[in-house]
């Protein structure tokens, strides 16, 4: 039988991480009225997922599955298409950032990956504004406040992801995982 790219366990764990992201977005609402604050848990789980399943495309998979879920849950303000593409873009952004930057256990790398991944979502919003035919300057102006917020929460989410990885490593989680595989 042809060997699958993701093993059954890897596929299922990535799926559950995707669901964990959507569940966190619903269950853990921080009292912060700023755009992109949900990126805190989002980026953290995404970064942990790339270390639990250290294969190219793991984050993209999590992004696409969580995007499909969020679309059906009616999350996001700009319609289903935007929700699906922006969630997927985060995953692709994280995968690309990790290709360039390497190990997410390094807190600086994790923070940068968080920024790049979350910024990809912002770019999708910007692209949707551009597709609608609105002058790019206005779209940029409308999103100017969001951009800082997206970068900050992306960075914090990345940092949280890095700290989570270190805590998991310290607790022997990856040794446990190696046994299971």
């Amino acid at each position: 039988m042809k060997k699958k790219y993701f093993s059954t366990f890897q596929l299922i764990v990535l799926t559950l991480f995707s669901a964990l992201i959507v569940a966190a977005k619903i269950a853990l609402r921080l009292p912060i009225q700023l755009p992109g604050h949900s990126g805190l848990f989002w980026m953290a789980i995404m970064i942990v997922a790339t270390r639990v399943v250290p294969k190219k495309g793991a984050a993209s998979f999590v992004g696409i599955v969580s995007g499909i879920m969020a679309t059906f849950m009616g999350l996001g303000d700009f319609g289903s298409l935007n929700t699906l593409i922006s969630y997927s873009a985060i995953g692709i952004g994280v995968d690309l950032a990790l290709l360039l930057l390497g190990n997410p256990e390094n807190l600086v790398v994790a923070t940068l990956v968080g920024i790049i991944g979350h910024f990809a979502k912002f770019l999708v919003k910007w692209a949707f504004g551009a597709i609608s035919g609105a002058p790019l300057g206005f779209v940029a102006l409308g999103l100017a406040r969001s951009i800082i917020s997206y970068l900050v929460f992306g960075a914090l989410g990345g940092l949280l992801g890095g700290l989570t990885l270190l805590a998991l490593k310290k607790a022997g989680f990856f040794a446990y995982l190696a046994e299971k595989k």
Binding site: M1, F6, T8, F9, I12, V13, L14, T15, L16, F17, S18, A19, L20, V22, A23, A24, I26, A27, L28, R29, L30, P31, I32, L34, L40, F41, A44, I45, V48, F61, S66, I68, M69, T71, F72, M73, G74, D77, F78, G79, S80, L81, F128, G129, I131, S132, G133, A134, L141, G142, L156, L159, L160, G161, T164, A167, L168, A171, F173, K180
Partner: protein
């Protein structure tokens, strides 16, 4: 830490009363994709499409969903409309507003009348590997359980006094490390659950080449009619002189 009120249960909001509920998800996906092409059309044709689309939404009993979707972005639409009108022209303002209206609502037809399981089945029939279609179904089935896990972890950590201070934009920078006490148990529980599901799925022949889905989709005449009308309308609007 003070948290906002949250929904007790997670559910997708399905419009059971819509006549589109009985159509094949592939036909509805095709309809939505056709409608999303229309976004690039000039104003006159966009207005014609939107008129037909609204009549269709009323027939499909999805008009309230359409309005609900627009309500979510009303301030963005108003802002863009006013700025475009004042700085460029009224025509551009109307065009941009209508395009955003179409782009945010085109997939309502599919999402509001299809369950995630049906979508997974449709994607599988369209060539998506079974394993990935299974992932979509599994993700939805696990959602309630994981939401409860998050809440249980949150309550447990609060009772330990981890989030005794109010978390806001000023304190979040210093308190981000505390959030590890939420993410670590959630990751561990999800991984453990993944292992249990893996064992169960493997025991049931998950990777068997002889596997067949329990439910089958059938593409009937009415689905063909819906698909042909959608494609015909969009092609007419694109090539109409």
């Amino acid at each position: 830490m003070k948290w906002k009120n949250r929904k007790p249960f997670i559910s997708t909001d399905l419009e059971e009363a819509s006549p589109l509920r009985n159509f094949d998800p592939r036909a509805k996906l095709f309809l939505s994709l056709c409608a999303s092409v229309v976004v690039m059309l000039p104003l006159q044709r966009l207005v014609i499409f939107l008129g037909i689309y609204i009549i269709f939404m009323i027939w499909a009993r999805l008009f309230s969903r359409f309005l609900k979707q627009l309500d979510k972005i009303k301030w963005v639409l108003i802002f863009l409309f006013l700025v475009d009108w004042l700085v460029v022209s009224l025509q551009l303002a109307v065009e941009v507003t209508l395009r955003l209206t179409v782009v945010t609502s085109v997939f309502t037809v599919l999402i509001a009348t299809t369950t995630p399981g049906e979508l997974a089945l449709a994607l599988e029939r369209l060539g998506l590997p079974y394993r990935f279609a299974f992932s979509i179904r599994l993700a939805f089935q696990s959602l309630s359980m994981l939401e409860q896990e998050w809440q249980a972890i949150l309550e447990a950590q609060k009772s330990r006094g981890v989030f005794s201070d109010i978390m806001n934009i000023r304190t979040i920078f210093t308190k981000v490390g505390d959030l590890v006490s939420l993410t670590v148990p959630a990751i561990v529980l999800a991984t453990r659950q993944a292992w249990v599901i893996t064992e169960s799925a493997t025991a049931r022949g998950f990777d068997s080449p002889m596997r067949k889905p329990y439910r089958q989709l059938s593409f009937t005449t009415r689905d063909w009619v819906l698909g042909i009308i959608s494609a015909g309308l969009v092609l007419t609007l694109i090539f109409w002189r």
